[in-house]
């Protein structure tokens, strides 16, 4: 799958691979021994955040789960 930043797709794939392995093997099993993907995530973020700024995508300052606040509990 492509990244919104054309130059970031390879970095994204490296990160995704690391994350998917960690998620299934460690996170879901309750293993809290730490995240092996921090470095690859950092590199990927450096690239994609730059692309987001360049393309003026209005993600900045959008509150996490923002619109969910005014919805009734499921």
């Amino acid at each position: 799958m492509n990244s919104v930043g054309e130059a970031c797709t390879d970095l994204k794939r490296d990160y995704d691979q690391c994350f998917n392995r960690w998620f299934a093997d460690k996170f879901l099993k309750g293993d809290r021994s730490g995240d092996p993907c921090t470095e690859t995530f950092r590199e990927y973020q450096r690239c994609v955040q730059k692309a987001i700024r360049e393309k003026d995508i209005p993600v900045d300052g959008v509150e996490f789960m923002g619109p969910n606040k005014d919805k009734p509990e499921s």
């Binding site: 799958m1 995704d16 995240d35 993600v59 996490f64």
Partner: protein
């Protein structure tokens, strides 16, 4: 005025598989309208929940009658945010998805909650809700109707995409992992979309509106 929609689906896979597949569902044969996908934020909280934000870019294909409402033209891409919380202790995945742009035309917000099925083993229950609204003066009702019909048909694609990702995960050829009740819903959605298209009285060949 907001259109509200909700339904429940059973997915014949364990919650662990469903949540893992959730991250791996793009690309899939049913998601050609999704152009890019990026994780733009991620954090493991002190109580061991995973918070994530994904940014998606999708094509925006509208029926011609809706395009006429914006004579200046509009960008072909829709940016969508998907925020999610994975709670591996309570075994729930909650996602909240909404579009960042084109919100005057239509705002679609969707909340999904994935949990272990209470009634059936090795099954995950998905509760899905959507809120659809439009702020185009004089046209909000037909736009909302269109939005709801498209949402329902997109939902079928989304489930097929998840099913596809689940099959890949489990190393099997794609098989029917969804209960048949979903098939009934997809037939209904096609009918609704067709009748709306003809009600809009635009003489064109039936197209799939993504």
């Amino acid at each position: 005025m907001v259109k509200y929609f909700s339904n429940n689906i059973d997915i014949r896979s364990t919650w662990d598989h469903v949540v893992s597949a959730f991250w791996q569902r793009y690309p899939n044969p049913y998601s050609t309208h999704v152009l890019t996908e990026d994780v733009v934020y991620r954090e493991v909280t002190a109580d061991h929940r995973l918070l994530s934000r994904r940014l998606l870019m999708k094509t925006n294909r509208l029926p011609r009658w809706a395009e006429y409402l914006f004579p200046g033209g509009m960008s072909r891409s829709v940016y969508i945010i998907e925020d999610s919380i994975v709670d591996p202790v309570n075994r729930s995945l909650t996602t909240y998805t909404w579009n960042l742009n084109h919100t005057t035309l239509m705002s679609v917000e969707e909340r999904c909650i994935f949990r272990d099925s209470v009634e059936q083993p090795a099954t995950t229950q998905l509760k899905r809700e959507a809120w659809i609204s439009s702020n185009v003066y004089g046209f909000s009702r037909p736009i909302q109707e269109f939005g709801l019909a498209r949402f329902k048909s997109n939902q079928v694609k989304a489930m097929k995409g998840l099913e596809y990702a689940l099959s890949n995960l489990q190393g099997e050829t794609p098989q029917r992992l969804l209960r048949d009740s979903v098939k009934g819903a997809s037939e209904k959605a096609k009918e609704t979309a067709k009748s709306l298209a003809s009600a809009a009285a635009v003489p064109q060949k039936p197209r799939q509106y993504v």
